[in-house]
Amino acid sequence: SLSEKNKAAVKALWSKIGKSSDAIGNDALSRMIVVYPQTKTYFSHWPEVTPGSPHIKAHGKKVMGGIALAVTKIDDLKTGLSELSEQHAYKLRVDPANFKTLNHCILVVISTMFPKEFTPEAHVSLDKFLSGVALALADRYR
């Protein structure tokens, strides 16, 4: 579980990278569909699933909005993200393995954009946090 130190590190990192969240979301999703092409199956309802497309940009923004929300609910992710979990469980039905995949892409993007800030200490806290988000999102699945 997240220690007070982890939470502080996440909030400190977010204060530096949060304003770039749209760009992070776009890059992470764009990268994900290239590196893990099987993830495109979730977007078959879009006319095209290509990096940097308007759909990807908009969706990246939405996803990062969820992450931003999670930062504010860091003390109780399960409760704080329960609505999003219901949505993912009953409507979107994204296999939770993909949360890990997208999380990895988010970490890679942050590493390319903020190499100095993304120290190993920041990395471990953010990885723990994103894993907690994934767990909370999967909470209502079954």
């Binding site: 990268r31 290239v34 990096p51 890679v108 590493s111 390319t112 954009m113 190499p115 471990v124 990885d127």
Partner: protein, 147 residues
């Protein structure tokens, strides 16, 4: 046998010609020991791994990080036969070092993060895909001789 596109071959050669092994290796191993602390179980003889600062400054960690990158170079130079190139190393990691092969993936992820930091926006999705494919082949080869 693994099929490599020209793009993938060129990308891997290019990355490894650009990175400094004694910077990237130590950084990746240190990051792995910090982000996935249970991996420290294999480094009992390395002395002080008490916190991130100690890990980063530990000379045995640095030396081993460089050793790992030099080991990876063997795969870079033998991309068409990584499985056989690593047969001995696989036996070593299994029979002598007793490393759970799941750990190779953790180190590979840290290596990806460190290389991403080095290359910045040149680490595009396509480059990442090629790099991760290479590392996946390496990880698979290292786990091959386990029984």
């Amino acid at each position: 046998m693994v099929e490599w596109t020209d793009f993938e071959r060129n990308t891997i050669q290019d990355i490894f010609s650009r990175i400094e092994y004694d910077v990237v290796g130590p950084a990746a191993l240190a990051r792995c020991l910090v982000v996935y602390p249970w991996t420290q179980r294999y480094f009992g003889g390395f002395g002080n791994l008490y916190n991130a600062a100690a890990i980063k400054g530990n000379p045995m960690v640095s030396k081993h990080g460089t050793t790992i990158l030099n080991g990876l170079e063997r795969a870079v130079k033998n991309m068409d036969d990584i499985t056989n190139t690593y047969a001995e190393l696989s036996v070593l990691h299994s029979e002598k070092l007793h490393v759970d092969p799941d750990n190779f993936k953790l180190l590979a992820d840290c290596l990806t993060i460190v290389v991403a930091a080095q290359l910045g926006n040149e680490f595009t999705g396509e480059v990442q895909a090629a790099f991760q494919k290479f590392l996946a082949v390496v990880v698979s080869a290292l786990g091959r001789q386990y029984r």
